[in-house]
């Protein structure tokens, strides 16, 4: 029972509890903020595993970008203060059944799998320089092509969201 373990359980508790609140609450703002907290928790888990670069990315993009965007759109659709309507009971029951069934099945599979022995002892720091070099290289482990493709995707998303959301001026 070392500190890593306790910290991990604590952080995963944060993640799961806030995620659950976000899913079950009827106030939309509360859902957004709980999502934010859950995402911060996930960033904490990343930090626990020395993935600082990813943790930073998580905070910057997810928390600082996506959740903010969600909050803006909540404002834009004038729904900030009302209570959210509930789905019909049957629907919720069905969803619950599927989710629980899936979770049980997955857990059972995971617990009965023999994962190969790991050696996380070699906790080498995540070096940003290494990430950068590998991203720009085009040999066997290089990710240049996906990098370029994703840049296209981002361009498309940019143009697309402007086009979709633009308000046409009435002449």
């Amino acid at each position: 029972m070392n500190g890593t373990l306790i910290l991990f359980y604590f952080l995963s508790a944060i993640v799961l509890v806030f995620a659950a609140v976000s899913m079950f609450t009827r106030k939309i703002f509360r859902a957004a903020i709980c999502l934010l907290a859950s995402l911060v928790g996930i960033a904490g888990i990343y930090l626990l595993w020395d993935m600082d670069f990813i943790a930073a990315l998580q905070i910057i993009i997810y928390v600082g970008g996506i959740v903010v965007l969600i909050i803006f759109s909540i404002f834009l659709t004038h729904r900030a203060s009302e209570k959210l309507a509930r789905q019909s009971l049957i629907r919720r029951v069905r969803a619950m059944i599927i989710a629980i069934a899936g979770f049980v099945f997955t857990a059972w599979v995971l617990l009965s799998t023999q994962f190969p022995e790991a050696s996380p002892a070699s906790s080498n720091q995540l070096s940003v320089e290494q990430i950068g070099i590998q991203m720009m290289s085009y040999d066997k482990f290089g990710y240049l092509l996906p990098f370029e493709v994703i840049s296209f995707l981002l361009l498309g998303a940019l143009v697309g969201s402007i086009t979709i959301a633009i308000k046409h001026k009435k002449i």
Binding site: A95, I98, G102, V109
Partner: protein, 644 residues
């Protein structure tokens, strides 16, 4: 091909050509031109027929003492096996040459007659085109080499007779009569077709002469094919009986006679051509063609033919005595006379002393064509003058229709078999051959001869002698010479045709046959005929009490006879009440409710199923996602448990 070959081909095809021209372009010609085209083609065919007859009987037909068949041309149309094929061809033998002469002559007379009779008709060219079609079909029938070719032309004859009977198509009775004729003969032709199929199955050939040869040599393998028996008669007898049924339909034997009286709805020249001289003898011709097979290998079928013919002759003669429509009397007379021809064939056999009946039947066919056509054409002239078919509107026409009167009298004398007119010789031959083979049929024939004389002279005296004050007495005939000339020519034929030594030319096996007249056996029929004439004179020449007295005495029988023994009503009952109600309606119900219902039910089922499945496409994203997730989980489970 020599000149006879070309002329026989031309003879058959000229009417076809005339039909095609008149059918396609007839309405652009004036009536005169169409009459010219139609009549000239038939007259040329008639002359060619005489030419061929002269050549056949006097030059090339006689080979070593017997007249044999000469196949002029043959064309292989459909080959089924080595032996079995449908050929189209022209054959000349005594039977077909005689028929060619008869058909073309009578047809020529009718064509000339119609120039006056049908003058002013709205569909004049169409009439002539139908006549040409009919003549072509009949000619093709008699020169057929192959039994299937004959069947083709048989049906064509039926179709053209439908067109001609229903010529006045605006009259419902004419349409009904045409339908009746076609349906009754078509129904009988079913028997013919089955008979053809059975014959071809057994004898393995469709060629007439091959069939005759194979089925008449005793002990041939083909006869063994027919060896099964059914209710006492061999399979061959049943086959030939079925073929005879087809012939009985066309020749109006009982019980298929019902169409012939109704067919009088057609124009009178049509009745003269079709229902006196040509189409109705097709059945007799068919039996004559297959006569060797009948006589040698299936004599019991021949016996049935004999009895049917004799019964029909008597039956029709009784009805004819009571009818009041001139054309109906002549129609029943035709039925009776054709029945004479049939039973003459029925009492004949094979061999020198027994085959007299065959020649007698053909002889009667020949002479009957002349005097029956003459009777019909004369009746047409009378109807034309008086304006009505009924006897009660006619009387005392001696002065106003002299030529018609004389020719009608000649025809009546001929049909009553008074010497020296044509009918005497042919009917004598029939009665003498019957006397040698089957005395009962002889007595029936004798009695019917008396009835024939009675009703024919009843007609004659009533029309030409019976004084009716209001009938006009001026001469109609000076305007209608095209009608008079055929009457005169046919009257000459009725007088001299009997004097031809027919047996020299036509006999069952081709060898000349002497038709002798024994004075002893001649006396009785002539006496019976004269008695009939005298009775008719007493009853009908003047106003007399005798007809009503006889009618009153035999009231019940008279009613039966004047209602044609209710045969038509029986047929109507069977078709309407039995066939339509018991068989037709349930089958129609099954078709509409069950079969249609099944198809409609299938359609309804698929529509209902689609209605049930439609809600799956509900448009709700979350439902889709749920199914997706569930499916993915199931798939993952299957894969994991199968492969891990």
């Amino acid at each position: 091909m020599d000149s006879y070959g070309i002329s026989s081909l031309a003879l058959v095809l000229l009417p076809l050509l005339s039909f095609i021209i008149l059918a396609v372009a007839g309405k652009h010609f004036s009536p005169k031109i169409s009459a010219l085209i139609g009549t000239s083609s038939i007259v040329i065919s008639a002359l060619l027929a005489f030419y061929i007859a002269g050549g056949y009987f006097f030059e090339f037909g006689n080979i070593s003492g017997a007249f044999t068949k000469q196949i002029i041309m043959q064309f292989n149309w459909l080959q089924f096996t080595n032996d079995l094929s449908i050929n189209l061809g022209i054959v000349l033998d005594p039977l077909s040459v005689m028929m060619l002469v008869v058909i073309t002559t009578i047809s020529a007379m009718v064509h000339i007659y119609s120039i006056n009779y049908m003058q002013g008709e709205e569909y004049f060219e169409r009439y002539y085109s139908y006549l040409s079609l009919f003549t072509f079909s009949m000619l093709g029938l008699v020169v057929s080499v192959n039994i299937f070719q004959m069947y083709i032309f048989w049906e064509l004859v039926g179709a053209s007779s439908f067109l001609l009977i229903g010529f006045y198509f605006t009259k419902p009775s004419a349409i009904a009569a045409a339908k009746k004729a076609f349906i009754v003969t078509r129904f009988a032709d079913l028997g013919f077709l089955i008979g053809i199929l059975m014959l071809s199955a057994g004898a393995k050939s469709l060629d007439f002469f091959t069939i005759i040869e194979r089925l008449t040599t005793p002990g041939s393998a083909y006869l063994a094919n027919f060896s099964g028996s059914f209710i006492g008669m061999s399979a061959l007898s049943w086959t030939l009986l079925l073929v005879f049924i087809g012939g009985a339909g066309k020749s109006a034997m009982f019980p298929f006679h019902i169409w012939l009286p109704d067919a009088m709805e057609g124009p009178t020249p049509v009745s003269a051509l079709i229902h006196a001289a040509t189409m109705v003898v097709a059945g007799v011709f068919l039996v004559g063609r297959l006569f060797p097979v009948f006589a040698i290998s299936a004599p019991d079928a021949l016996m049935i033919i004999g009895y049917t013919g004799a019964f029909t002759a008597l039956f029709a003669a009784i009805i004819a005595c009571t009818q009041t429509d001139i054309k109906r009397v002549l129609a029943y007379s035709t039925i009776s006379q054709i029945a004479y021809m049939m039973f003459a064939l029925g009492v004949a056999g094979w061999g020198a002393d027994k085959s007299e009946g065959f020649t007698a039947s053909m002889f009667h066919l020949f002479t009957h064509a002349f005097f029956k056509a003459l009777l019909f054409l004369g009746a047409g002239a009378i109807i034309h003058a008086v304006g009505s078919n009924e006897l009660k509107n006619m009387g005392g026409l001696r002065k106003s229709l002299p030529i018609t009167h004389i020719t009608f009298l000649i025809a009546c004398l001929a049909i009553s078999s008074i010497p020296p007119f044509a009918g005497f010789f042919s009917k004598e031959a029939i009665l003498s051959s019957a006397m040698h083979s089957n005395p009962m049929i002889y007595y029936v024939g004798l009695f019917t001869g008396g009835l024939t004389a009675f009703y024919m002279f009843r007609l004659y005296f009533r029309i030409f002698w019976f004084k009716k004050p209001e009938v006009h007495a001026h001469n109609h005939e000076v305007h209608t010479w095209f009608m008079n000339v055929p009457l005169i020519l046919l009257a000459i034929g009725s007088v001299v045709a009997g004097l031809i030594p027919f047996g020299h030319f036509v006999s069952a096996n081709g060898e000349p046959l002497e038709l002798s007249i024994h004075l002893g056996s001649v006396v009785l029929p002539v006496l019976v005929a004269l008695t009939g004439i005298a009775t008719a004179y007493l009853y009908f020449a003047r106003e007399s009490f005798r007809p009503e007295q006889s009618v009153a005495r035999f009231r019940l029988f008279y009613n039966w006879a004047i209602n044609k023994f209710y045969i038509d009503e029986i047929y109507l009952f069977i078709t309407k009440k039995v066939l339509f109600n018991l068989i037709g309606r349930p089958i129609a119900w099954v078709d509409k409710e069950i079969i249609n219902g099944a198809i409609n039910g299938t359609a309804r089922l698929s529509m209902k199923t689609s209605e049930m499945i439609k809600p799956v496409q509900s448009g709700r994203t979350q439902t889709y996602a749920m199914f997706f997730m569930g499916g993915a989980l199931v798939l993952a489970a299957i894969l994991i448990f199968k492969f891990v």
